[in-house]
Amino acid sequence: MTSQATTEPRAEILLIEDDAEIRRVLRTTLGAECYRMREAASVAEGLQQVHARQPDLIVLDLGLPDADGIEVIHAVRRWNRNLPILVLSVRAHERDKILALDAGADDFVNKPFAVGELLARLRVAIRRGTSVHRENAEGIFHLGDVAIDLSKRCVIANGQETHLTRIEFKLLQALIRHADQVVTHGQLLNEAWGPNHTEQTHYLRVYMVQLRRKLETDPARPRYLRTEPGIGYRLVTGQSD
C-alpha cells in the first residue's frame, strides 16, 4: 500500500467529520500513507476550508451538526466539477447515498469501514480527479482475463469475441469511465437512454444481466459487474488495491 501511496505524491485531503475519534483514526492512517490532512467538524467550517485550502479530495460525513453534509456537495459542485468527494455513510441509508451521489459525490464508504477499503476508494477517486484513463492506445480495456475492445464494440472473453449491442456498449462505457466507482441507476439510465427514461430501472437491470452473461464466467457470482443494491452498479477492475 505504501508503494501505491507514493505514486500519488502527498495529495491533500480535507476530512469533514464531526466525530473526533473517527477523525483521529483517519488522521493517523492517512498520515501514515503520506497524505496531507486538513480537518473540519461542520459544514460551515468545511466549506471555509475548501475555499481556503483547495484540497485534492474531500472525505465527507453526511451527518454533520450544523447542516446535512449534502450541502457541501452542492456548494462544491457549483464551482468545481472535478474535485473528488468521497462520502462516509451508514448502511441502510440508501436514499441518502443516492442523493449524495446524484448531487455529484464520486463514491461512498459504509461506516464502519475497513481502512483497506477506504484507501482503495481514495486512490480511485484521486486517480479520477487527475483523469487517468486505463485503456491502452488501441482502445482496449482489460478486465482480468476479459478484454473490451471499445473501437470495435466487442468483448473478448474465454477466447470468444462477442458483439455488444448499442445500449450494452453505452452502459459499459459509462461504467469504464467510472471504473471502480459506484454509478447510480439514474446516471446509467441517463447515459444509455437519455434524461427522459430515468424511472425505468428494470430495463437497466435486464441489460446488466445480459452484459454479465457476455463478460462474466459465472453471471450469478459476478466478479466485475457488481450490484450495489438500492443504489446502482460498480465495475470492479481488481486494480484499485
Partner: protein, 342 residues
C-alpha cells in the same frame, strides 16, 4: 334490496310477520358489518320497501300509519341496539389486542435486553481487554502477540457490527418499515448477496442455478438481498470449510420457488419450526449471534407475502425453501429491443 327480492318472492307463501323478519335479518347484517349509519339507513329503506312491496294492497303506499311507524321504530331500535353492542365488543377486543401487543413488545424488549447484554458486551469485552492490554503492556509484548491482539480487536468489532446491524434491522422491520418494490432479475439479487462473501466463503463451492428466462420478480431488492446475506452468513458460520452450497430457483404458476441447500450438518432435530423465532438459537457450538438472522428472513419474506421453511435433508444438510409470489404481471420488455431505442 336483497331482502325485498327475497320477501317479494316469498310473500305469497308465508305470513307478513315472518316476512318482516327477513328485513330484521338485513338490518342485523348491516349493524354488524357496516356500522350505525348503514344500519339506520337499512332500517328506514327496509321498512318502506316492506310496506310498499309486501303489505296488501300491493304496490302502493296506502297503509296504516300506526303499524308503519311501529315497524319502523322496532327496526330502528334493532339497528341501534345491535350497532351499540358491536361497537362495545370491538372496543373491548381492541383493548385486548393492544394489551397483547404491549405484552409481546415487553417480552421482545426483555429478550432484546438479554441478547443485547450478552451479544454486545461479549465482543466489547474482548475489544476493551485487547486495547487496554496493548496500552499498558506494550513494552512486554512481542510482535506476534501485538498482532494477535490487534487482529482480535478487528474481528470482534466486525462481529459486533453484525449483531448491531441485525438488531437494528429487526427493529426497523417490526416498526413497519416501508417495502419499496420494483421488478428485479432474481439472479442479480442473489449475485449481490454472494459477492459480499468472497473471502468469507473460504473455498466453499457455491453453485447457482437460476434459469436465464426466469420471470422478473416484484420485490424490495435491499430487503431480499438481506435474506440471502443472512442465509449465506449462517452457512458460513455453521458449516466446515469446503462444504458445498447450492441455490436453485424455478417458477410454478405465479410463484417463484427458491431452494438454498448445503451439505453441512443440517438443523438440530426438532428445532425446524422454532428456527424463525426471534432470539432462538440452535446448537451454537460456541458460535455467537443474536438469533435474529432467520427471524429477519421470515419478516422480510412475509412482507412480500411469501413463505420460508427449513428442514434437514434425509442425507443431512440444511434446506431452506422460499416461495415468493411474482407480485403482478412483469413489465413488458419488448420496448427493450434496440430498434425502438435507437
Amino acid at each position: 334490496m336483497l331482502c325485498t327480492l327475497v320477501a317479494v318472492a316469498l310473500r305469497s307463501k308465508i305470513e307478513l310477520t315472518s316476512l318482516a323478519m327477513i328485513y330484521i335479518f338485513g338490518v342485523l347484517v348491516a349493524s354488524v358489518r357496516y356500522g350505525r349509519t348503514a344500519a339506520v339507513l337499512n332500517a328506514v329503506l327496509g321498512v318502506t320497501a316492506f310496506f310498499y312491496f309486501c303489505v296488501p294492497v300491493h304496490d302502493s303506499f296506502v297503509m296504516e300509519d300506526s303499524s308503519y311507524l311501529m315497524t319502523l321504530s322496532a327496526m330502528l331500535a334493532v339497528a341501534l341496539v345491535i350497532t351499540g353492542l358491536v361497537d362495545r365488543v370491538r372496543a373491548q377486543s381492541n383493548k385486548v389486542r393492544d394489551a397483547e401487543l404491549r405484552i409481546t413488545s415487553e417480552s421482545m424488549k426483555n429478550s432484546l435486553l438479554s441478547a443485547v447484554s450478552h451479544d454486545i458486551k461479549t465482543p466489547l469485552a474482548a475489544i476493551y481487554g485487547a486495547a487496554t492490554s496493548l496500552l499498558e503492556e506494550e513494552d512486554r509484548l512481542d510482535r506476534a502477540q501485538v498482532r494477535g491482539l490487534i487482529g482480535g480487536i478487528a474481528a470482534e468489532a466486525e462481529r459486533l457490527n453484525r449483531v448491531v446491524t441485525n438488531i437494528l434491522e429487526m427493529t426497523r422491520l417490526e416498526s413497519g418499515m416501508e417495502v419499496r418494490k420494483d421488478w428485479y432479475p432474481l439472479e442479480e439479487i442473489v449475485g449481490a448477496a454472494l459477492s459480499r462473501f468472497e473471502s468469507a466463503l473460504n473455498g466453499r463451492p457455491v453453485t447457482v442455478h437460476i434459469p436465464s428466462d426466469l420471470s422478473l420478480v416484484c420485490v424490495d431488492d435491499v430487503l431480499l438481498e438481506q435474506v440471502f446475506v443472512n442465509l449465506v452468513d449462517n452457512f458460513v458460520k455453521y458449516t466446515d470449510a469446503g462444504t458445498p452450497l447450492r441455490i436453485d430457483a424455478s417458477r410454478t404458476g405465479e410463484t417463484i420457488s427458491i431452494i438454498v441447500q448445503d451439505k453441512g450438518q443440517g438443523f438440530p432435530s426438532g428445532s425446524e419450526d422454532r428456527l424463525f423465532e426471534k432470539f432462538f438459537r440452535g446448537q451454537t457450538g460456541g458460535i455467537r449471534g443474536a438469533g435474529l438472522g432467520l427471524a429477519i428472513c421470515r419478516a422480510i419474506v412475509n412482507a412480500h407475502h411469501g413463505t420460508i421453511k427449513a428442514r434437514t435433508m434425509p442425507e443431512g444438510g440444511a434446506l431452506l425453501s422460499i416461495e415468493l409470489p411474482i407480485g403482478g404481471s412483469p413489465p413488458d420488455l419488448t420496448e427493450l429491443t434496440e430498434g425502438s431505442t435507437a
